[in-house]
Amino acid sequence: MRYAMVIDTLKCVGCSDCVVACQTENNVPIGYCRDWITETVSGAYPNIELELKSERCNHCENAPCVRCCPTGASHQLDNGIVLVTGDECIGCGACIESCPYDARFQHPEGYVDKCTFCHHRLEKGQLPACVSVCPTKCMYFGDLDNPNSEVSKLLKNRKWKTLAPEAGTKPKVYYLI
């Protein structure tokens, strides 16, 4: 089991529903977010391209945040999900600095917080909140080890990219382009 998220940039309209759904599902305090939207404009009028996409923790196979954590609070499950155990976190911020995706932040209560792929929902057989709410249905979630999963098929049949591949982190969030 290797969980992955696939996001179709050709469909994303950048509405930020994933951001609000995450906040209400995971009680993320106002002013903070575990996922966010980026907008990239290239070209000059009228030959322009626009890419909108939802970003979050990439649950890297080779996760620098896990390696650098002095207490073991940052850890990786067998299914690839990277988590932070709040009561083991001392808020040193090393993981925040090490993350090439800027995906971690310090929760006002002190510990470091980030996307969990809605681990608690997966346990109940539900999709992550962002995936289940997206009005453009541009987000997919599933198991890369299963060749018949929607994510495996999409990655086989469509052009894709990952963010900051040069960091060598082997991210598990893929963008269809």
């Binding site: 309209v13 609000v20 009228p46 322009i48």
Partner: protein, 747 residues
């Protein structure tokens, strides 16, 4: 649109300031791990699920409100069987929790009072406020007649108050949703097909092969099921053609983006008709069988060649031809989308007619992948006496505009200004669920009208700007805290949805139905409100519909079979349209008889003078009008609007992204607040763009106050549609000021 990461970095950097902070926070966690805590909160904690439909915009998506045992609303999730949302709410619906939790909400009734010569509000009890309203209403009725009481409304609370007003003898009622929004397209399509487009639009986007958007920015307007279906259409490989001077989100998803010169859309559409007719690629069978006036249309567009349109629209002739062919190739699975907010240049009914005619030529109305025949179920009216017949009403106030099929808000506002010719004097006004100071342009006129009113009441959940003009302000509870009318969806299949309170009303706020009933009883109209709780009304209606509140509490949405026949025109069968001729009227005799152009013509509109830029405005997906700017969840996503400026303009004026500027329009109106520049290639060099609904004046909106510019403030010139009275708002030009014009000079 972009959620700021910088913000949290700044905050987390502060948090890291001292080890002591981290340690004390650490000790607060206790023994259970953070993840276990979360699981406990969201999985094991029993959440109650209550059905509702959303009120953050007009799409009315059915949803479930999840609240915990302590009565806190945790989240709102779309109802999976609902055809408005298919289980997926938009950011505003998901962020609807913020409508409830906003601590800036109106908390108690307020009455205008004079303390030492200064006007102010005093907090009042409901009895005090309602007694005052009733006595003022009685007084107006005695002096001028009930007709002089006007209601401007939007959404669910408006429905309850409409009942009150009609019962009292006034049908002086309007909503900005008509003449300031979609009225022109309803008139244009009604003239052609005999029926309104309506809401949601019966566009069969999920099965279309070609979607044509003319200034309609689906994806930035989050009309939920349409956004979802556009996504399905993208998956299915449909062609999207977007006509917009701005590179909208939809434009970025399009095969063809036509960066049209603003205000020239009719010229483009005439050229499309020319190509489709001259090349003989229209749906000949459909045109022959179902339309009238083809010959007149053919003659009319003969000279409107793509070469002619090129000089007007700046769209190259080969692009016009290619896109016209692409539409015809996809026909009848093609949609020339009617749009929604269409009050642009004053010839908007004619532009809507051009869209309607194009759809007629392509044979898309009543066809799969084009427009389907919508259907809804009629919710029986709860027994109530007949309304008295007013001596005059919204029709008379709007009599200058023969095709106005609803009240014209701006005309009702004008009727409040006394003059000798004013046969229909409006003397008091109730405003419910609409922030007219943000939705109605020509602010000077609006302020004069409000000043002339003898009495004004505002019902809202938030201290919107308009509340500042009221004599009495009534705090309505949010949609999550009240019963409301049954939502009957007009869609592919009829369905109903209910709204049941998930929690008790916060503060001293009350539901709109209760306010209407209380005022009604004080006016001696008790028999019109023959119930103690609106729940009884719904229960009665649901029983007539063969269901019950008990069942609806479990399912939220109930579906009914279609009764009006097929979704599309059936092969080999005749279809009669609801027009006078029974056919699609390409040429409109009705318009001809009224003295208007029976076929749409291109009219040249003024262009920006030297140093000025056309002010265009639109929507952001996480906000509804000016209603959500203070919502803590949605404000967090976008707290202010930006002024989109083309890099060429930015170079000339020396503007940089993030720089604060002010605007002054052609009538020397200066924006109250500043706005931050966003230099972007997504906008033309002859226009600037901003998202509507920001620049709030009321300090009580602590998050939204003074953030960005209110586009409506800059719209002091309007172009009125002579056919239906729509308010054209896109002909205003602004100059960009880099110095704060409101700076006080210190000596």
């Amino acid at each position: 649109m972009t959620t700021s990461r910088r913000k949290f970095i700044k905050i987390s950097a502060l948090g890291l300031g001292g080890v002591a902070t981290a340690t004390s926070a650490f000790s607060m966690f206790g023994s259970s791990s953070y993840l276990n805590e979360l699981v406990k909160q969201n999985v094991t904690k029993k959440l109650k699920r209550t059905p509702t439909y959303c009120e953050v915009c007009f799409w009315k998506c059915a949803a479930w409100t999840y609240s915990d045992e302590d009565g806190n609303i945790q989240k709102i999730i779309g109802n999976e069987t609902d055809p408005h949302c298919y289980g997926r709410l938009c950011p505003r619906g998901t962020g609807g929790v913020g409508m409830y939790s906003d601590e800036d909400r109106l908390k108690t009734p307020l009455i205008r009072t004079n303390v030492n010569g200064e006007e102010t509000f005093k907090e009042a009890s409901w009895d005090e406020a309602l007694d005052l309203i009733a006595s003022k209403f009685k007084n107006i009725k005695e002096k001028y007649g009930a007709e002089s009481l006007a209601l401007l409304k939007h959404g669910s609370p408006g429905k309850h108050l409409e009942h009150l007003f009609k019962a009292y003898g006034s049908d002086t009622i309007a909503e900005p949703a008509y003449a300031q929004c979609r009225g022109a397209r309803e008139a244009g399509f009604a003239l052609t097909y005999g029926s309104w487009v309506g809401s949601p639009e019966p566009t069969d986007i999920r099965d279309t092969k070609c979607l044509v958007l003319i200034g309609s920015h689906i994806g930035e307007n989050m009309h939920n099921s349409q956004v979802q279906e556009m996504s399905d259409a993208i998956d299915n490989g449909a062609t999207i053609i977007t006509v917009d001077p701005r590179f909208s989100t939809a434009a970025s998803k399009s095969k063809h983006w036509l960066p049209i010169k603003p205000a020239t859309d009719i010229a483009l559409m005439l050229a499309w008709m020319n190509v489709i007719i001259e090349e003989g690629i229209y749906d000949k069978e459909y045109v022959e069988k179902y339309t009238t006036g083809f010959k007149e249309l053919k003659d009319h567009v003969l000279n409107f060649t793509p070469e002619w349109a090129y000089g007007i629209t700046t769209i190259k002739p080969e692009v016009i031809r290619e896109t016209a062919r692409e539409m015809a190739h996809a026909a009848p699975a093609v949609i020339v989308h009617p749009g929604r907010h269409v009050s642009w240049y004053g010839d908007d009914t004619q532009r809507a007619r051009a869209m309607a005619i194009l759809n007629g030529l392509l044979g898309s109305w009543g066809r799969r992948g084009g427009f389907y025949f919508k259907e809804s179920i009629k919710v029986p009216k709860y027994p109530s006496p007949k309304y008295p017949h007013p001596k005059w009403d919204w029709r008379d106030i709007g009599e200058k505009y023969p095709m106005a099929q609803m009240g014209i808000t701006t005309e009702i506002i004008r009727a409040a200004i006394p003059s000798k010719d004013n046969k229909y004097p409006v003397k008091a006004m109730m405003v419910a669920g609409t922030n007219i100071t943000k939705s109605i342009p020509e602010k000077a006129l609006l302020e004069k009208a409000m000043d002339e009113l003898e009495f004004m009441v505002v019902l809202d959940t938030m201290p919107m700007d308009v509340t500042g003009y009221a004599d009495v302000v009534l705090p309505e509870c949010t949609y999550l805290e009240r019963y409301d009318g049954i939502r009957s969806a007009t869609n592919r299949e009829p369905s109903i949805a209910v709204r049941v309170p998930a929690v008790k009303p916060k503060y001293d706020s009350k539901p709109g139905w209760w306010v209407a009933k209380q005022i009604g009883e004080r006016l001696g109209l008790g028999e019109y409100f023959n119930y103690n709780d609106y729940k009884e009304v719904i229960e009665w209606q649901l029983k007539q519909l063969g269901t019950s509140l008990e069942e609806m509490n479990k399912i939220g949405v109930k579906h009914f079979p279609r009764k009006s026949g097929s979704l599309y025109i059936e092969e080999g069968k005749d279809h009669e349209f609801a027009t006078e001729s029974g056919k699609v009227e390409l040429y409109s005799k009705e318009l001809k008889n009224l003295g208007f152009d029976p076929l749409p013509k291109y009219t040249k509109h003024p262009e920006a003078p030297q140093g000025f830029y056309r002010l265009n405005y639109g929507r952001a997906p996480m906000h509804t009008f000016s209603r959500t700017a203070n919502n803590p969840n949605l404000n967090d996503l976008k707290s202010e609007n930006n002024l989109w400026v083309n890099p060429k303009v930015a170079r000339i004026l020396g503007l940089k992204t993030g720089q604060e500027v002010w605007l002054r329009n052609q009538d020397k109106i200066t924006s109250t607040f500043g706005i931050k520049v966003r230099v972007t290639e997504r906008v033309r060099w002859d226009s600037v763009y901003m998202v509507h609904g920001f620049g709030h004046d009321n300090k009580k909106l602590t998050r939204a106050f003074g953030k960005g510019i209110n586009d409506t403030q800059m719209i002091s010139k309007t172009m009125v549609d002579p056919i239906m009275g729509g308010t054209g708002m896109r002909g205003n030009f602004v100059e960009i000021l880099t110095e704060n014009p409101h700076k006080t000079v210190e000596i």
